[in-house]
């Protein structure tokens, strides 16, 4: 009899444990690694928002820039029986198999930042990513509108586009946006278009050469802030004044670029935000309360930051960088 009571009690306890566990939602995030300040801010944002949410357990895996680590982490998440998986894909291809396994286990999947190429073949609850084409468009639009405020709207200006790593998603998208937007500003003439590989050093070396091979560059569109920061050094070395003699528009909005804008050496930067935390939390809350998911790629709200603010680039009005630099976390 005593044994029976003990057994029943044990069973009850085990059951209550299960109930308690079932209340907690385990959210697992597979991140690609730590490659830049942008990526660190991305990890911190999701970690902070999800990790501090009441009743949620947050599991994080850093894949150290290797796809096989990410796939291993995803399989671990499946074995652990997590409730939600958040994923950023290091490369486009090679995901179908493991993502189908996640689908088979019916674990909701949220894709963030970098998307896999098999999106139409798998199930996912939501996808959040940057809009590279729109960022590219905004870069040129900002320069065009700024020239108008300077009274140079009709003057023919030479534009150089410093591209990112050839073939990367950001390079392809931003170039498309850059070139499409230039058609709306007939006074802009493309004089150079080459790759600076998204790095400061190559941006600097490329600008150094351009300044010698091209007679006049009025506007530099750099597809990320790092290349713009490199180019600024080259422009100074050539005896020109960055931000005045050459208008410089970057992309990403890292803190160093804000500093350059405040110092007057750079004109504007288009935001490509890593702060997906709030959106991901909102999305998981929707999921838990039974709102159906969407296969459409959702873009976060992103701003444009420049020296004085107030320039309308079509849908967004720029903000003065000096006012928000202190809030910048990356």
């Amino acid at each position: 009899m005593k044994k029976l009571v003990a057994l029943v009690l044990a069973l009850l306890m085990a059951l209550s444990c299960c109930v308690a566990l079932a209340d907690d939602v385990t959210v697992a995030f597979s991140q690609i690694g730590q490659e830049s300040d942008w990526r660190t801010a991305n990890t911190d944002s999701i970690g902070k928002w999800v990790g501090e949410h009441e009743g949620w357990i947050y599991t994080y895996d850093d894949a150290q820039q290797k796809q096989e680590n990410q796939i291993k982490a995803l399989r671990n998440f499946i074995t652990q029986g997590v409730d939600v998986i958040v994923l950023t894909c290091i490369v486009d291809s090679g995901w179908e198999e493991v993502l189908k396994e996640i689908n088979d286990e019916e674990i909701p999947l949220i894709l963030v930042d970098r998307m896999p190429d098999c999106m139409d073949k798998i199930e996912y609850y939501a996808a959040f990513g940057g809009d590279f084409v729109e960022e590219g468009r905004r870069q040129v639009a900002w320069a065009g509108e700024y020239l108008k405020t300077l009274g140079r709207g009709e003057e023919e200006v030479s534009v150089a586009i410093m591209e990112g790593t050839t073939g990367s998603g950001a390079q392809v998208g931003r170039t498309e946006g850059n070139l499409a937007a230039m058609e709306a500003y007939p006074n802009m003439k493309l004089v150079a278009q080459q790759s600076g590989n998204f790095t400061r050093a190559e941006g600097q070396a490329l600008m150094e050469s351009w300044l010698k091979s091209i007679d006049k560059i009025d506007v530099l569109i750099a597809q990320n802030d790092d290349m713009a920061l490199g180019a600024i050094e080259a422009i100074k070395a050539a005896g020109l004044v960055p931000g005045k003699d050459i208008i410089i528009v970057g992309c990403d909005s890292v803190k160093a670029a804000f500093q350059a804008i405040v110092d007057g050496e750079m004109n504007a930067t288009i935001e490509c935000t890593p702060l997906y935390g709030p959106a991901v939390v909102q999305c998981i809350e929707n999921l838990l309360s039974g709102v159906p998911g969407s296969k459409e790629l959702q873009h976060p709200d992103e701003g444009v930051y420049d020296m004085d603010g107030g320039i309308d680039v079509g849908g967004v009005v720029s903000i003065k960088a000096g006012d928000v630099i202190d809030e910048r976390v990356y």
Binding site: S36, D37, S195, K212, L229, A237
Partner: protein, 356 residues
């Protein structure tokens, strides 16, 4: 007569062909854009300004590393870790100079208390890492390509950990001067490179060390039997290469005034090996030429500058570089240079009526 024999030898020398290749590449530039060679003094900075200066200036990082790499290759090895060490050096230096730590919270206040530490610590760590490579090879008997692979893979990780995966920016003036100031109108990196080449040349040619390296590279056992401490030679060579990678890393970070653990020194090991090979040092070890290596490095940079200067599309850049390098290496290959020197010899004989 004596002069003609010299000519044949000259045609056999790989350094000659490296120089010929460089001249050919520059000739292409000259024909396409005569203003390529324009040179002037920049008023604001008092520095020489022109493409030739850019080529010399930007080849510094590779040339400095390639000096060490020449000795490593003369020993019959390769050092794959140099690129990662460039990142380590920059990361450590910036660790001392970042402005976002509590002490230097105000941008503009970039004072670094013991500035020497910001230079000596990175160089010291890189030398130690070089010694670690040397230890694995000399004492552990590992193959250099495998031993140095360890630091090649984990070096960037070390750099990332040093800076917590972040990219610091500094505006600390003394550090800025390393790569951006000038001496007698010549940019500082060129001066540093010249000093490194000179010191290395004195070290290997004015002492017996160069001969030791060649002896160990040709036959390690034979050199040991003849009384050379092969282990010590390997230690010294890898330590030098580590130190030079550190110097290169400081120049790289000073140019961009920041650390870049992902991209600093990326593929530098390949460029350095290529510079050594173009310069006429054989991958099998033995005889080496420091001057040849310097020219090899300049050729590589000339090609990059040419690509930028002539606005060659990003997609075609790689193929274009590969094409030029292929031509240079074919020009230097044994059969081609033999054929050319034979023709020169025949012609010489023809002139004196020696060949029927």
């Amino acid at each position: 007569m004596k002069k003609k024999i010299d000519l044949t030898q000259l045609l056999r020398s790989k350094v000659t062909w490296a120089i010929v290749a460089e001249i050919l590449v520059l000739l292409v530039c000259l024909i396409a854009r005569p203003d390529f060679f324009s040179l002037k003094i920049q008023e604001d900075t008092g520095m020489l300004y022109g493409n030739i200066i850019d080529i010399l200036n930007r080849s510094s990082e590779i040339t400095i590393i390639a000096m060490g790499m020449t000795l490593v290759i003369a020993l019959g090895g390769t050092d794959l870790s140099v690129g990662a060490l460039v990142a380590v050096s920059g990361a450590i230096a910036l660790k001392f100079m970042r402005w976002d730590v509590a002490e230097y919270i105000t941008p503009g206040d970039y004072s670094v208390k013991p500035y020497a530490l910001a230079l000596l610590v990175p160089l010291g760590v890189c030398t130690l890492m070089g010694l670690f490579n040397g230890f694995l090879i000399a004492k552990g008997g590992m193959q250099p390509i495998i031993a140095t692979l360890i630091l090649m893979v984990c070096g960037r990780g070390i750099a990332q950990i040093t800076t917590d995966g972040r990219q610091f920016t500094t505006k600390f003036t003394p550090f800025y001067r390393i790569a951006n100031s000038s001496f007698l109108a010549i940019p500082m990196p060129i001066i540093i490179t010249a000093v490194v080449i000179l010191l290395m040349w004195l070290f290997v040619r004015k002492t017996a060390f160069g001969t030791f390296v060649e002896a160990v590279g040709i036959n390690r056992n034979a050199s040991r039997l003849s009384g050379i401490n092969a282990q010590m030679v390997i230690f010294i060579v890898f330590a030098i290469t580590g130190l030079l990678s550190g110097v290169s890393g400081l120049i790289y970070s000073s140019r961009i005034m920041s650390n870049d653990s992902n991209n600093a020194g990326l593929n530098f090991e390949m460029d350095a090996i290529l510079a050594v090979v173009i310069g006429g040092t054989s991958m099998t070890g033995g005889k080496f030429s420091l001057v040849g290596t310097a020219i090899g490095s300049i050729i590589i940079r000339t090609i990059v500058t040419l690509v930028y200067y002539f606005g060659i599309a990003s997609e075609a850049t790689m193929a274009f570089k590969a094409m030029i390098i292929a031509v240079v290496i074919v020009l230097q290959s044994e059969p081609v240079s033999n054929y050319l020197s034979k023709r020169a010899r025949n012609r010489a004989k023809l002139a004196t009526g020696g060949v029927k």
